[in-house]
Symmetry: C2
Subunit: 336 residues, 2 copies
């Protein structure tokens, strides 16, 4: 039924070792023999069995990528970066969606490890002890991308979320705003949600603006959430003149909520966020935001992983990529 390397060997009148050599591009084969083998392969429609190869060689040339939420544009952009570099180094990648569920993340890590991937890339999300535990059982290298672990034991590639948030809020302050609201993500995630919150506080602090609890509300990173929380701000007796939103998607909700209330962005209220997903320039006004180099985060983390898999030495196993403030149309100076 299925044609094996042995069938090819017989057909070509050589040994299976030779077939293996030509299939694996081993140079130690006479061109003539190589040709014979290729013809036999063609004739028989032979397709190498990666499973058998993996068992024999103890390498699968594939890396597992766990993606927290396949429908989140951030992660899909990171995935592109991962892929391009993976292809460059001739690794296959297998993507596993984890649906934002911690339990599923752990499960996926384990099945990936069972499948004997040569390395693991873990994207996004908060890193808990359970994660660390799962990573520890791995005999292959692991790198985090677009997230970090607090303990700092696992190689990672990410931006400095606190600094990014700081820069965003700081821009608002430079534009004369002093009543600045924030729509945050969950504070439970230290590497991301909480970091952005800290950046916000830090910027206020530096400018000598007192922190006002009523100016901070928690959203869930979704568009609808942005709308909802913004309504709260709009009903405040002294509503903020600018809002810092933890991600672009919520920020679009914020813009629409403001517009739906008959106000204008940025004339009445300025809005700034973080991420710079494609959608950020698919709104009117276009979003001013702090860009995360998503593609690069993916590319660099994959490159780091290849080094680790090759047992090359790496200087820093925790790399922080630069972010950039992208000025568009949603922020204006505050006129008092």
């Amino acid at each position: 039924m299925t044609v094996t390397i042995y069938d090819v060997a017989r057909e070509a009148g050589v040994s299976m070792a030779t077939v293996s050599r030509v299939v694996n591009n081993n140079p130690n084969v006479k061109p003539q023999t190589r040709k014979k083998v290729f013809e036999a392969i063609e004739r028989l429609g032979y397709r190498p069995n990666a499973v058998a190869r993996g068992l024999a060689s103890k390498k699968t040339t594939t890396v597992g990528v766990v993606i927290p939420d396949i429908s989140n544009p951030i992660f899909s952009e990171v995935a592109r970066g991962i892929e391009d570099i993976a292809n460059m180094y001739h690794y296959n990648i297998i993507l596993c969606n984890a649906d934002k569920k911690k339990e599923k993340e752990i499960r996926v890590i384990n099945t990936l490890l069972e499948k004997q991937v040569d390395g693991l890339l873990f994207m996004g999300g908060a890193i808990t002890d359970e994660h660390i535990q799962a990573f520890k059982t791995a005999t292959v290298p692991v790198v985090l991308c677009a997230t970090t672990d607090e303990s700092g034991t696992i190689p990672s590639v990410d931006i400095d979320h606190q600094a990014a948030a700081f820069d965003a809020v700081n821009l608002l302050i430079q534009y004369g705003h002093r009543s600045i609201g924030m729509i945050s993500g969950t504070l439970q995630d230290p590497s991301n949600g909480n970091a952005r919150y800290l950046g916000y506080k830090q910027a206020l602090d530096k400018a000598g603006i007192p922190f006002n609890e009523n100016y901070v509300r928690i959203g869930n990173y979704k568009y609808e959430s942005g709308i909802e929380v913004t309504k709260y701000f709009l009903e405040l007796p002294n509503r903020p003149t600018a809002i810092f939103v933890a991600n672009d998607e919520m920020a679009i909700g914020t813009v629409h909520a403001i517009q739906d209330a008959g106000l204008k962005v940025p004339d009445d209220i300025s809005v700034i966020s973080v991420d710079n997903i494609r959608m950020a320039s698919m709104v009117r006004p276009q979003l001013t935001t702090v860009a995360q180099p998503m593609y690069d985060i993916g590319a660099v983390s994959m490159r780091l992983l290849t080094k680790l898999m090759n047992k090359e030495s790496v200087d820093r196993s925790k790399v922080v990529l630069p972010h950039e403030v992208i000025i568009r149309e949603s922020v204006a100076p505050h006129h008092s």
Copy 2:
């Protein structure tokens, strides 16, 4: 270094066959023995090697999914449907992005087949002879989702794109529009791009509206493309009063181009499209569009694949799921 089934056997004082049985939930094991084995597994931190298992059993319990463009929300939603059903039937799925390149699609199909997946799901995109050829070499079942092949030889799950387009344009006509532009995708793709074009023509035809070549322009499904093409329409001496756009993303571009020109949607120009991605309701005005049941397309195709993998008989191997016109805010009656 790595602990094998054999180590567990020794540790538990049983044979490897027994360990294999408990790992695979074979009922023919005395509870007491089972317990001993589990303890040994725990103690040693044994993790089954899926590669070895795959070689021995000739099954990998994983299905390969090729996704044409991971950053396209349509496909990621379809992928969710696939995943949920796959989990339900205890299959792992490995996602492979093909970057909208035919050459890469073929390559990915082949590596997936080499990896001995138990089945293959091919998403989106035009199906060429090369694809068919690649599928033919597969010894495992293949199903297409969100696309169809013309020859009808491969099982598939999709909507009737022509009918969907027809319904969209028909709505416009019922609202009194007779000057209806269309922004199409490539006409090279029979199952999708061309089908929507045919639906447009069909609707005009039925209403006795003469077809006007200048009212049809080809875009590339991207936001920017929607903007660009719409500008062309706006400069037409007798510009259309309504535009049918082949997908939501371009339609958002259309809406913005119209607004940027100082006109209003839908008061001045109505816009309707196809897909109903999340973003369709993240614009002002919210898009009236024909919904594709993306999640269901994924779920149904995965279900179909499980049947095929089990060699169960299926009644129809080409299933067409219903679409639905979603009325929102971007279409208004035409006032002459």
